[in-house]
Symmetry: C2
Subunit: 131 residues, 2 copies
Amino acid sequence: MTSNPIEQFEASAQLFKALAHPARLAILDILRDGEQCVCHMEAVLGFRQAYLSQQLAVLREAGILQDRREGWNIYYRIVREDVLNILHTVHSSLPEQIPSAKAHSCDCPKCKRKDAPAAEPQTFFMANQAG
Amino acid sequence: MTSNPIEQFEASAQLFKALAHPARLAILDILRDGEQCVCHMEAVLGFRQAYLSQQLAVLREAGILQDRREGWNIYYRIVREDVLNILHTVHSSLPEQIPSAKAHSCDCPKCKRKDAPAAEPQTFFMANQAG
DNA sequence: TCATCACATTCAACTCCTTGAATGTAATTG
DNA sequence: CAATTACATTCAAGGAGTTGAATGTGATGA
């Protein structure tokens, strides 16, 4: 098993395949600061809801994201530390980085009018740490 | 320019797209130790020559590899430090790593019978450093 | 210049990814 | 339980990646 060079790198290739899309990288860029609800990403990125949900599904099925329901909203977060490191490496090599307004708690009208809980900045995921 | 979230991550997505293939990851794994001729990769990986050349072209056109001719042989090397860092990150998170025989100078029969120059272990590329 | 070696490129069939449109579902409110 | 909210899933057409087969190209040696 995993004797040939193809099988040996299949898993890594699958990971990179999930990252090989600008929309999904934009999603992960938002989630680097911590978990966010879907409506927040929808407002910040300007994607249609169904489209955003499709891209989230790809990242979820790749094991990169995990979701958590809280009433009407569903919050996504990055659950793979190596992905955070990879994103950091790539962003460091970029010519310039746009700060963007995504760092704010939650500017989207949907979240604001419902006074949703803001995302707390985290180093990595604090859940899933032996409950 | 680069105002929308799609354009902003296009370049990174292109990079990941080039990495999203097990054969190309196997190639890069060999080149992590330094430059190697095509016949070496052909022997170690067991790929057909044309197939290997196609995958090398993808990595070359993505700006990840650079080639250098030396007589009959063409030597490839990694010219992007961020890619080396990304590969290191991914390999660190893998469950187990197969040492493999790729670290040896050049075991392939073609290279051996011609007594080709062995690959010298390098930290990063030493060429392209202001000539 | 012709034959050979090492490697690159083109082509075509196939598969996988992309993405808009439509529809489905769990939680909440009344 | 019916309506609403927030999000997920399915479907299909178009586009892009994959890969075997055939062919092309530059360097070397006679």
